[in-house]
């Protein structure tokens, strides 16, 4: 399954991939585990995910072609 990845802020400084092709990830929790294994720095950051532009509040199933954004703490204003 191919997932599109968007990274923002300080996370975009070390997660630079745009796409993840894997058969081992089925939901957002699985994606988080995978990302934190590949990018241990991520564990230090209170990041949030957005799935297809909607901020993820609880674990959600992923489908091929989904767009997942990885977002560090917000600092607008």
């Amino acid at each position: 399954m191919e997932i599109n990845i968007l990274s923002f802020g300080k996370i975009a400084e070390f997660i630079t991939i745009n796409r993840l092709d894997t058969d081992e990830i089925f939901d957002t929790d699985g994606l988080k585990q995978q990302l934190e294994k590949t990018y241990p720095q991520l564990k230090e950051i209170k990041y949030k995910l957005a799935l297809n532009k909607q901020i993820v509040q609880k674990n959600i199933e992923l489908l091929p072609g989904d767009v997942v954004a990885i977002m560090p703490p917000f600092s607008g204003g």
């Binding site: 968007l6 802020g9 909607q54 954004a69 703490p73 917000f74 600092s75 607008g76």
Partner: protein
């Protein structure tokens, strides 16, 4: 929620004082307004361990931020008897001393305008995917975090 209802809040670069003046002036024809409340964010020359901030570079996950702002707008209009509500957030590099946020509420009486303005600022900072990269005078940077 239809897409056409979603208002843009993002402006490229700093918010000018003439833009603020024009926004206020446009409300002189709204005769039912008795009070306006305005919050302006200005880029501060923070001193962090001897390094001084010279600018903040703002980026956003724009579509998600606008959808989130749309929800906030609806909640605020349901909660307070407002006549008007306007929000502008800068993107790009905003220098120290420049305005990067403009929140503007109007109501028949002062209390709803003041309370709504404050609540919008708090929610915007907590809920909108926007990031400020603080650029120091020596060219290094750090990522801002809202408290």
């Amino acid at each position: 929620m239809t897409d056409k209802k979603i208002k843009n809040i993002f402006v490229e670069g700093a918010i000018s004082t003439s833009f603020i003046a024009d926004s206020i002036a446009k409300h002189s024809s709204k005769k039912e307004i008795g009070g306006h409340s305005i919050f302006l964010g200005q880029v501060r020359a923070d001193d962090i361990d001897g390094k001084v901030v010279s600018a903040i570079d703002y980026t956003a996950y724009q579509e998600t931020a606008l959808a989130q702002m749309h929800e906030i707008r609806e909640a605020i209009f349901n909660k307070y008897p407002l006549t008007c509500m306007h929000v502008y957030q800068s993107l790009g590099t905003i220098k120290v001393g420049e305005i990067c946020l403009f929140v503007f509420t109007s109501s028949a009486h002062r209390k709803p305008a003041i309370a709504a303005c404050e609540e919008i600022v708090e929610r915007l900072k907590a809920e909108l995917p926007i990031w400020g990269k603080e650029i120091f005078e020596d060219g290094t940077h750090q990522w801002k975090e809202n408290k």
